[in-house]
Amino acid sequence: MKKGLRKGILISLVFSLAVAVTACGSGDKEAGSDSKKIELLNVSYDPTRELYENYNKAFAAYWKNKTGQEVTIKQSHGGSGKQSRAVIDGLNADVVTLALGYDIDAIQKEGQINEGWQSKFEHNSSPYTSTIVLLVRKGNPKGIKDWNDLIKDGVEVITPNPETSGGARWNYLAAWDYALHQNNGDQDKAKEFVKKLFEHVPVLDTGARGATTTFVERGIGDVLIAWENEALLSLKELGPDKFEIVYPSESILAEPPVAVVDKNVDKKGTREAAEAYLQYLYSEEGQTIAAENFYRPTLESVKEKYKDEFQDIKLYTIDDEFGGWAKAQKEHFSEGGIFDQIYTPGQ
């Protein structure tokens, strides 16, 4: 018994030593080529998949050209809030490119991103923007022209639940802001408007893609409230003979922000490349890729080139209208917030 045990220990010792040696060997090799090759992880939200697939190739070529270093970029996509939690819980992201500032604020609160991240890059750290539009069925049979048409009798509206979908919070806030402007800033009237609006919602999907499926595949609803980039992508993929986009009289400027995850890049020694990766989004090439993937560019020259693709409407920002994400989140989407009240009976 004892002898057997000792033998077992010996075998496992030899075995682990062998593993250690081979591990060291391969480690040395990697260390040798470290300066030539790095890897970045971009943790993003759902609809940016195609955008970053194209952008990553462009950036890798640019970076190789500039520094001689080979960079491979891995992407991770999912719901914005979910992705934010993954980074908080230890997903080793170098950069995050999410749907709303609130989700990056949450990472910053945990200390993984330094304070003041939103002023690190231009335009509130949002290299590309979008807005909220209305997607209707071809010919616009219900005659939808603006936000107030959504609460007309017999109109069914599809939008995801803003509690579970970061993207849908923009939808909700765009509707709220419209109602506020229509009623001279009367909060109660605005609340009544969104309450009525959500009475016209027959299905509350958990995410934007789910809502699109409900509207497009299941044939439910007359209007889909959607991000402009998603609406344009749907038109391109499903054919303009089935749907059309209605631009409301005003909407919200959706700013999906980007940030370097300071703690991770300092640990991995990838800060330089990570910062360049986000900075290059503002370049002519980066902006063109964003525009080709239906995000509104912020660089004037590219804006000018694509001005026919993106209709000019009155756009308001979250900061001006709601005093920033933290405040908007607290007032509207927290427990007992306005959205909660809409669905709680007796309120």
């Binding site: 809030g81 979908s165 509350l204 789910g210 499926t213 044939g219 439910i220 989140q329």
Partner: protein, 277 residues
């Protein structure tokens, strides 16, 4: 002393070792994650807990979750018995394929099940379009949730009933028949008492699975607060706004009720076994 207890428990040695493993694995796989749930609840005060527990939206979601899971498990128990019966008692071409099909809901990602069920039962789907003229709506109603949960739960019933049914000797039934018992009576007083414990286990498993199911349900339920919003979805939406404490509160209550219900079925089962002897 130790060997004495071990030999009391059975003919095979190694009681101490196996019990050690049992405790270790139960801890690693079940107990530690569950206790992490409690540790994660920083900021969960009694006041907050009570606030969540009495929130009408939370209560409504529990009602939806438990009622649909119970309904689905009940239907599964009847259908599962039927399926197991056919698979055990009859031979027909393609039987082994049918047998394998039963396990598919285990393997299929639940989201896939949810999406395909919704596609079929939506008003423009194959079955949904047939039901709509009759005024029956399945997708985006509680009925849709029940159907998704039935799909998820059916293998549990079949796989628990099947082995017991295989053990049942056909000659007992024949004996009952020669003694002049009607078919119904043979089923009622000879077969059913022996099948009751596995049926109850199957029901409990399908029920428990249904309470926690998230992936398939969110697609077909429509997720309307107070109407078709399930408790696990409420947990997700609380997590989505970084409300860990609230999510934990909902989860703890959900776990507690589930545990009590499962304990009750286990006790009932034990009592049935005893009285059957």
């Amino acid at each position: 002393m130790k060997t004495a207890t071990a030999s009391n428990r059975g003919v095979l040695p190694g009681f101490g070792l196996t019990l050690g493993y049992t405790i270790l694995y139960l801890s690693l796989v079940v107990l530690i994650p569950l206790s992490a749930l409690l540790f994660n609840s920083t900021g969960l005060t009694w006041e907050k807990f009570w606030g969540v527990a009495t929130d009408p939206r939370v209560i409504a979601s529990y009602r939806v979750s438990f009622l649909t899971a119970a309904a689905a498990a009940l239907v599964d128990t009847v259908l599962g018995l039927l399926l197991a019966w056919v698979l055990v008692r009859y031979t027909f071409p393609g039987k082994s394929i049918f047998d394998a099909l039963v396990d598919l809901p285990f393997a299929l990602p639940t989201a896939v099940a949810g999406v395909s069920l919704t596609a079929i039962y939506a008003n423009n789907g194959w079955i949904g379009s047939l039901l709509e003229p009759l005024g029956i709506k399945v997708a985006f109603t509680p009925l849709g949730i029940i159907i998704a949960l039935m799909f998820i739960g059916i293998p549990f019933v079949v796989r628990t009933v099947q082995p017991v049914l295989q053990e049942l000797e056909a000659d007992v039934e024949e004996a009952a028949a020669t003694l002049g018992s009607s078919r119904l009576r043979t089923f009622g007083s000879v077969i059913l008492p022996q099948l009751a414990p596995p049926l109850l286990t199957g029901f409990a498993l399908a029920f428990a699975r249904g309470i926690g199911e998230y992936g398939s349900v969110v697609f077909i339920s429509g997720n309307m607060p107070m109407k078709t919003e399930i408790a696990p979805l409420l947990i997700m939406s609380k997590l989505e706004r970084f409300d860990y404490a609230g999510a934990t509160a909902v989860a703890i209550i959900l776990l507690l009720i589930s545990f009590l219900l499962l304990l009750a079925t286990n006790l009932l089962q034990r009592w049935m076994r005893k009285s059957a002897r």
